[in-house]
Amino acid sequence: MLFDFNVISQWLHGALTSVMPEWAAILTESILVALAIITLYAVFAIILIYMERKICAFFQCRLGPMRVGKWGLLQLFADVFKMLTKEIISMRQSDRFLHNLAPFLVVIASMLTFACLPWNKGAHILDFNVGVFFMLAASSIGVVGILLAGWSSNNKYSLIGAMRSGAQIISYELSIGLTMLTMMALTGTLQISEIVEQQYAEGWNIVRGHVPAVIAFLIYLIAGNAECNRGPFDLPESESELTAGYHTEYSGMHFGFYYLSEYLNLFITAGIATTIFLGGWAPLHIIGLDGFNGVMDYIPGIVWFVGKTLFVVFLLMWIRWTFPRLRIDQILALEWKYLVPISLVNLVVMAIVAAYGFHF
């Protein structure tokens, strides 16, 4: 049977309440959870950056980092170290307060969203009845940070980059919202844990919802990629046009925050795709093969979740390292002329599928 994380959390709660009052126990738990999130956040950022550098290199007939450690495994630690020791330069004529605030907004937004991911059965940090809604809302705070960064830098490249980013993220939010809506029509709930439980019981949404779900999945991948400002939608920071776009003027760990959140947003986008479409922590089940399903259940949910997420991340990286960058008008045309109409039609189709029970 699949491992339930509630066992651990209840045991911990019990142990803590036995030595301290209820409020202190909850406080301690909160701190532990916060530390866990921050650690996970950093660990995944490092894993993803290493993964990106290697995958990118292999797509490009290169080897990628090889020097520091075996296969360059320690390269990222060296990079993080370098970034931590670098000076944070403050620009003359920049809006100092907003300039320093902006990177934190971006990190906060991605951490909040990060906290919504279902890691395992019973291991959700934020889980309530409007979970998906909250997740979408939290992820949109990031764009404020980007706009602020562009504005407060007092740099023309940054400003253009930030404006592009604003136009792009707000447009693509629409597609994300619509695809989520499509899937909510199928699941009938906004609570993330329930969405996954349901998929564990009845099969992954991408299979249950068949055609409209697959379309929604593809649109979500495109829009999610655009939300992360990653290629081919990386024009807010397109290095061949705007040198580095909105974070041109940042240095040291302030730049590091943008860098971290870019990769974490990638992970989060992939994680949400996993949760909504690919069954979250639910293992692969094939109807009729009970023995196989039993074996699959022995693999812990967290392995399933992270594995699937990294698979989606790989898909996104594959896309990034294949395609050229779009132009700002083309990005908006793609959204408004292609993705939004298709998502709307798809939503109607899904509504029919759900209402008449055409799904599996």
Partner: protein, 522 residues
Amino acid sequence: MNLDIRTVAPENLREEMLRLRREQKMNFLETLTGMDWGEEGGLGVVYTLESTETGERAALKTATTDRENPMLPSVSDIWKIANIYEREVYDFYGIKFTGHPDMRRIFLREDWVGYPFRKDDEPEKENPLRMTNEPLADVTESYVLNPDGTVVKETHPIFEEGEYVVNIGPQHPSTHGVLHFRVSLDGEVIRKIDPVLGYIHRGVEKLNESLTYPQTLALTDRLDYLGAMQNRHALCLCIEQAMGIEVSDRVKVIRTIMDELQRIDSHILFFSCLCQDLGATTAFLYGFRDREKILDIFEETCGGRLILNYNTIGGVMADLHPNFVKRVKEFIPYMRKNLQEYFDIFINNVIARNRMDGVGILSLDDVISFGCTGGTGRASGWHNDVRKRMPYAAYDRVEFNEITRKEGDSFARLMIRMDEIKESLNIIEQLIDNIPDGPFQEKTKPIIKVPEGTYYTAVEGSRGEFGVFLESHGDKTPYRLHYRATGLPLVAVMDTACRGNLIADLITIGGTVDYVVPDIDR
């Protein structure tokens, strides 16, 4: 070839030029070279013209003996490229062109004292190494000639008050070198571009005046580094023709093969950098992977990868390496196969097509008036291939097509290069199996002196007509050695090509017109 130069008095110049333009259809201003003929000859300009319709050529010169305040009439309204060429002459010789809209220095610093190409100027005396930033002019000057013969100086601002001007460069990933565009933007739309040149101006032409002929060769590789072979070929040809040296057939064929390899090398790099500029980093590395093969071939025979140092006066530096033929024969099918990959990953890609189709259209009139030779001109339907117009080396004995297109947009410019890679491979294939025997170096005198005269020789460089204008007074050093840079017209045309497009298009257009900065700045 030896130029047959007609002298025109400054006051008749405009009339004569307009007549040539209208009646003889001389629509291509090939070169415009400043000259200092000393106290008696005065400061002047040599123009070489060509008619793209009839192929007729003409060379004129005009001069003024006023060294204090030399003035000559401008032809910048007759040929658009004259605008930037005349600025160059003003920068080097201090000749003011009346009627020119924008008389600013172009390569040297704005605070430079004196005019270094004048034979009596001592640039080092007045110009110490300045440790301050170069101030960039916000206003430009023009000199208007009134009907009564007086000249009025006018000033105009380069950018209006309140324009949103963004600096693209000099440190920018997609200007392919230290090139600086001041771009006035309206949102994302480009309103005007003002190129600021000269960040790596090394005064190659000035240096040449104190170097012996063999020594001048060493600098040609450092102009357009992706056309090193062809640049050096042009200078060698010019000196050989002037001195009447006939090179062996073997040398001619070797030079042809090398030129074509260099062209493929340059076009691959063009493709790679365009991909990089448009964000397709993976395609960039595929191009570099294939270019490596050519560089290896070069290195084995010439000893260099970028600075090839191969042609010499009367031959080549060393005979072909024994492995050369084998390697080239391996390379031809390899390249043909990998060219398909370029199409798969980038050229046929819908995103790339949308970025390039219909972007930065240059009309046929514009490319001729701006003198944009090479692939950029041919993409707009201008048959300007020097290999066909004035065949040299072994080009008269091979069959190849001059690739032209009509669209004149960025995609056409890309496709011209891709098709030229195929043509170059065909040329090499025709020659590689029958390289004639013969000496690889003709005997020359130990000290090379070019007979007195003015010569002009052009070859088809990687990105257009690379010309060498040589005036010799019979010494062992040239009196004036001017290169017709292939890149300068391409930068001059950027303003026309980019207006009304987006910033992202500036990058696309800059990538596809394919300039190389050391060639522009010289």
